[in-house]
Structures are given as C-alpha cells and as structure tokens.
C-alpha cells in the first residue's frame, strides 16, 4: 500500500516538473515576444533593454544577498527548509544569473551610442559622460561584486580566512548598486517603491543576522564561567553542618614550574 502511494507520489512529482518547465518556457517566450513587440523599431530599444537588464540584475542581487545572509545566520541550523544544500545551490545559481544580467546591462550600455557611457565609462570610475557619479557607483559596485564572487568561487580550494573577509565586500556592492539605482533609475514611483522595499528587506534580515547571538558568542559565554579554587581553610572548619556557599577565588592561572624550583 505504502509502496503504491510512494510510486504515485513520484509520478505526480514528475508530471508536475514537466508542467512547470513547459509553463515557464512558454511564459518566458511570451514575455520576450511582448518585449520585442513593444520596442521593435524604437530607437530607444537598447536603452530600454539596458534598463530592464539593470533592474533584473538588481533584484537578483537582492535575492542573492538575502540567501547569503540566511546562509550565515546563527539560526541556520534550526531551519530545515530549504535544506542547507538547496540554500547554497540557490546562492550560487543566483550569483551566476546576477552576473549574466549585469553583463547584458553593461554590454548594451557600452555599445549604445545614445547612452553616452561607452566602454571606458563602463569599467573606469568617472569615465562616463552621462551622469558620471551614479555610473561610477555602478562601476565600483561591479568591481566589488566581482571580488566577492571570484573569491567565493575559490572557496574550498583556499583557506576560509583568505576568502571570507573579501567576500564581505559584497555588502559594499549591494549598497552602491542601490545608490546607483536610486540616483539614476527612479523615474517612476513604482521603481522608487521597489528600491525602498527591497533595501528595507535586506536591512531587516541583516540586522537579524548580526544581532542574533552567534555560536562564537555562546562559546565566549560558556568560557566566561571560570573554575574557582576553594580556600581549604574555610571548608575544613569545625562546623559539620551545612555551610553557606563559600567565597571562592579564581584558579591561579600561572603555571608554576616545579622543575626549576620556582
């Protein structure tokens, strides 16, 4: 009976997966069709494509950061779903997609004469003639993001002590991207709301991650309870009845070297 049920379940999961993949492929095709249809022939098409890629990249970066915070949250061991393996896979996959859309954002802007950014402006701070400050923030964010991503790609091959501090520049990347978006990309209230809500969400999770007591703090708490040396004279007194807890003094931490007679 239970074997039949499990077979039925497997079949159901398989069918669901086929429907999901087919559905998402259809939806993607439809979205691309609508996008092409609405900008076809428009001389602003590359600009719109670059903006869309930028916003997508930002949203992916937010999701990536949220997964990163969850991965290092002190409560991570208590959460069962998604599993630890799924979380790390999602974090890595999101970083790849973020990179893909960032590259699209950059390539389109660099090759679009109308944008006035150019290849120079894409990679060098203050190299853009179009809105130099916001573009520069984006450029620095790109470098910081690449540093965070490349060091993490080496995780497991190099010491955690080497890559983990560098990986934390990811937060610089996100903050700069957010400012880049706020300064250069809020021409509609919807976009402003998106930046405010997503920024608030990351701050909320980050506060929870950094204010929750970590394992290291718990060890420090345990280590703070020190062993004490009992003054023998106090305990060895004549009173055979219950005595109050005697005052104890900390254990002498100085190892005496008896061999040298000290």
């Amino acid at each position: 009976m239970s074997r039949d049920l499990s077979r039925l379940r497997t079949a159901g999961l398989g069918a669901g997966l086929v429907v999901l993949v087919t559905g998402s492929a259809a939806l993607t095709s439809w979205c691309i069709g609508v996008a092409i249809g609405s900008v076809a022939g428009d001389r602003m098409a590359p600009w719109i494509l670059a903006r869309a890629a930028g916003i997508t990249s930002y949203l992916l970066l937010v999701a990536l950061t949220l997964f990163g915070l969850v991965l290092s949250h002190p409560y991570r061991a208590r959460w069962r779903r998604p599993s630890a393996a799924t979380r790390i896979r999602a974090h890595v996959s999101l970083s790849v997609f973020t990179l893909v859309f960032t590259v699209l954002h950059i390539v389109v802007l660099a090759t679009d004469k109308y944008a006035g950014v150019g290849w120079w402006g894409t990679f060098v701070p203050l190299g853009s003639t179009y809105r130099p400050l916001p573009v520069t923030l984006g450029v620095i964010a790109l470098w910081a993001g690449l540093a965070a991503g490349l060091t993490a790609a080496l995780a497991g091959r190099i010491s955690r002590r080497a890559w983990w501090p560098i990986h934390k520049v990811a937060i610089v990347s996100l903050v700069l991207v957010w400012l880049h978006g706020i300064l250069a990309g809020i021409d509609t209230p919807v976009l402003l709301a998106m930046y405010v809500v997503t920024g608030g969400l990351v701050v909320f999770v980050a506060v929870s991650r950094y204010t929750t007591s970590t394992t290291r703090a718990e060890v420090a708490e345990l280590a703070a309870v020190r062993a004490t040396q009992v003054p023998v004279a106090h305990l060895a007194g004549p009173a055979p009845v219950e005595t109050a807890r005697p005052a104890a003094e900390p254990v002498s931490v100085e190892p005496r070297d008896v061999r040298s007679g000290a």
């Binding site: 208590r78 020190r226 062993a227 040396q229 305990l235 807890r245 254990v251 931490v253």
Partner: protein
C-alpha cells in the same frame, strides 16, 4: 536542594578489600547534603585500610607493576589502562600536575560523590601516591561547582592529614562550572593552563597538554581510590569491583559489585519498579552509553571483558532501568536533546549535527518523522560520528543508535505516526527539569 543519603546494608565489620561498606541511597538529583554519613576519618581509614606506603622513587615502579597486575583502567568507557597513562606522562619527565577528577558530569551518576564523601582518605592516599610517583608538587581535586559536600569532605580530610603531620605534597580543591563536559580531561588541562573549562583538540593523545606547559595526569576519583587500595593493601588483596549508580523514580542507589554479579541482580537489589514488573531495558554507562534489552542485560555480568564482548561498558557506572510503562524512544530523544544542549558549541558536529539529530529524534518520539527525515537521521548519524574535539556527539549517537535497535518495535509504531502514549516519562534525571 536538599538531598539525603543513608547507608544501608552496612556490614558489621568493614573490609579492607572493597571501596564501600554498603549501598548509599541518594535523592534523584544532586550530590549534596548527604547527611547521615560521616566521612571516614583518618584513624578509621587507617584501621580499615592500613597505612599508605610511599610511592616515591623506586617504589613508583612497584606501584606501576601492581596497577598493571590488577588491570586498573580509566572510567571513561574506553577502559584505557591506567599504567599506560602514567607511563606516558612519566615519559615527559617528573613534575606533572596530578588531578583527581571527581566532577561527575553524568546527571544520574553519584558514585564519585559517595566515594569522596565516605572515603576521602582513600582517594587522597591514591592521589598522594600518584603525586609521589610523578614527582609532583601540584595536586588537584577537581569537582564541579555545587559539589559542596564533596569539597567539604576533601578539605576536612586535607586539614586532618596536615594536623596528623602527614607530609603530603600541596593539594588544592578546584570547582569547575557545573556542566556535563566539565569532567572532560582536555577541558581540565586547558583550565589548569589558564584557559576556559572547555574541551579542545589534542593532536597527540599521549600529550594532551600544550607545548611547553607542565604535563598533567588526570584520573577519575574511583580510579584514584583504587590506587589508594593498592598503596595501602596489595595487588593480592585487590578485588576488581565496579561502583554503580542505579536510578529509580524517586531516588538513586550507589553500590559496589563484583564481576560475578549480574545486572539482573543489581536491578533486583537496587531498583524500585513503579509497577512491580521488571524493566524493559537498561541504559548502561551514562547518557552517552547504550541501551540493553532486559532479556540480554539480566544475564550479563558486571565484568568489563564480558560487557566489551557485547559492545558495552560500565563507563561512568550509570545503570538506568527503563520501566515497562515508559517509552524508550521518548526517553532517548529527551537525553539527546539534553546532550545537544550541553555541547561546548565549539565544533560543527555538535552545533549543527547533534542539534539536527536531536530535532529528528524528537520528531520520531512524537510520531511525526517523515521518510526523508528518517533518511536524514541515518545520514547525520553516520556523518557526525567520530568527529569533534572531545567526541561529545559520539556518546549521544551511540545511545540513540542503541535505542533504535533495542526499541525496534516502538520505532516501527512511531514511524506510522502512533506514539507509545507511555504513562511513565522523564525516567532519568536531567538538570533544569522540574
């Protein structure tokens, strides 16, 4: 917390071959205020056991030979030969710090407390002999915070020895934080070196102290009392007994038994069944020990070799009979949860692994373990074992694994979402539970 102890079955004439005169009864928790029992004073101690012989210089080798001859081992469950440990410390030169470990982390166990409170001079004779053999001038009686009765008993005995003019080397009494892992040897050594009382990784088990630090010999209180027997008596009169703590619903009994005694006799003698029926199983060794079904356990002798053949050990001496009306899985899940909470939180296998295993064990106990949870439990138990600085998870996993075997029928029932609905629960004491 008021705990009362009385001696029962006290024989008319005390014998010099055993550690205890009879069985001691304690309340369910704690080791303190064992009123009604006077510690054996120095005169009484000498009348029963005789005067300690020196173990300094050449006499050290004779003592080591005697320790070898009686196959004296540690009480940690690994049965590590005491003589090998002593020789490995001696290999690093004279002048080691010698520690009597009387910090019983096992919440159910009270054998060391009873020993320290009724036979302080025997333990101290063992300690002083060990110090002489090691050329030591630093002796430590290591107890846990709250063990005031033991601390008082030892301190009084030390004062008595000083008054009697015994030329004992300096001995101090140190109270460790009251935690499960406070009796762990690497944590003791770390503390003596000025660090926190937490276990640490040791690269060379034969040299658990830090490079350049003073060498340290740590022996359990029972082992040290047995050394005391050897330096007052001889290997010929030595009896290889075991001290056990048997846990009942309202009290505990500490007793000494010989290798010819079966666990069935131990339970008959010291356990009160809540319903008149024999127990369904025993937890043997400690909370990191193993469950043994009653049918197997009743015939087993309290003999290290015989127990080892069954993959068992007396360990810390705990005997926890599980009443027929209790659920072994519920009890085990409770103990795993306690052990997970008592980790030093230093190593991944405890922080993540043991906590996850405790969650899954609770799920199983509550009858809501999913098939994927079952697979994860099996996987985690394999992945975690043998890891961590002090191997703390190993004991918890051994206990849980034995529960899954011994309570196999219950596992089957719980997996189908039906619990035992046992009327008896919380059989073994866990600190902090009301």
């Amino acid at each position: 917390m008021s705990v009362h102890l009385r001696l029962v079955e006290t024989p008319a004439v005390a014998t010099a071959t055993g550690l205890l005169d009879g069985a001691a009864v304690l309340s369910r928790r704690g080791t303190e205020s064992l009123s009604g029992v006077a510690p054996q004073d120095l005169d009484a101690h000498r009348a029963v056991f005789g005067v300690r012989r020196s173990a300094a210089g050449d006499a050290a080798e004779a003592l080591l030979a005697a320790i070898d001859e009686v196959h004296l081992t540690g009480r940690g469950g690994g049965h590590f030969p005491t003589a090998v440990k002593w020789r490995s410390v001696l290999a690093h030169g004279l002048g080691a710090t010698v520690v009597v470990n009387g910090a019983e982390g096992e919440p159910g166990s009270a054998k060391d407390a009873v020993l320290l409170q009724t036979r302080p001079h025997l333990v101290l004779d063992g300690l002083v002999a060990a110090m002489e053999a090691m050329g030591s001038t630093d002796g430590v009686v290591w107890l846990h915070d709250g063990a005031w009765a033991s601390a008082r008993s030892i301190s009084r005995a030390l004062a008595e020895r000083a008054t009697a003019g015994l030329a004992d080397p300096p001995i101090r009494v140190v109270l460790a934080p009251d935690r499960y892992l406070s009796g762990e040897a690497t944590g003791i050594i770390r503390t003596l070196e000025g660090g926190p009382t937490l276990p640490r990784f040791v690269e060379d088990p034969a040299r658990p102290w830090s490079e350049g630090a003073r060498s340290v010999l740590v022996n359990n209180a029972e082992t040290m009392a047995r050394v005391g027997l050897l330096v007052t008596g001889s290997a010929a009169t030595y009896r290889p007994t075991s001290l056990l703590t048997v846990v009942s619903a309202g009290h505990r009994v500490v007793l000494e038994v010989g290798p010819a005694t079966t666990l069935g006799e131990v339970v008959d003698r010291a356990w009160s069944s809540p319903d008149g029926r024999p127990p369904q199983a025993l937890l043997l060794g400690g909370y990191g020990g193993s469950w043994v079904s009653w049918d197997v356990a009743r015939e087993l002798h309290v003999d290290a070799d015989e127990l080892r053949r069954h993959g068992l050990s007396v360990g810390a001496g705990l005997v926890g009979p599980l009443p027929a009306t209790a659920c072994g899985l519920e009890e085990s899940a409770r103990l795993v949860r306690y052990l997970a909470g008592q980790s030093a939180r230093q190593c991944g296998p405890c922080v993540f692994g043991l906590v996850a295993v405790a969650d899954l064990a609770s799920d199983l106990s509550a009858g809501r373990l999913t098939p994927s949870g079952r697979r994860r439990l099996g996987r985690f138990m394999g992945e975690i074992s043998g890891r961590g600085a002090c191997r703390h998870p190993d004991g918890a996993l051994r206990m849980l694994a034995s529960a899954l075997t011994v309570f196999g029928d219950d596992v089957h029932r719980h997996r189908r979402g039906r619990t035992c609905d046992a009327p008896t629960f919380a059989v073994l004491p866990v600190p902090g539970e009301s």
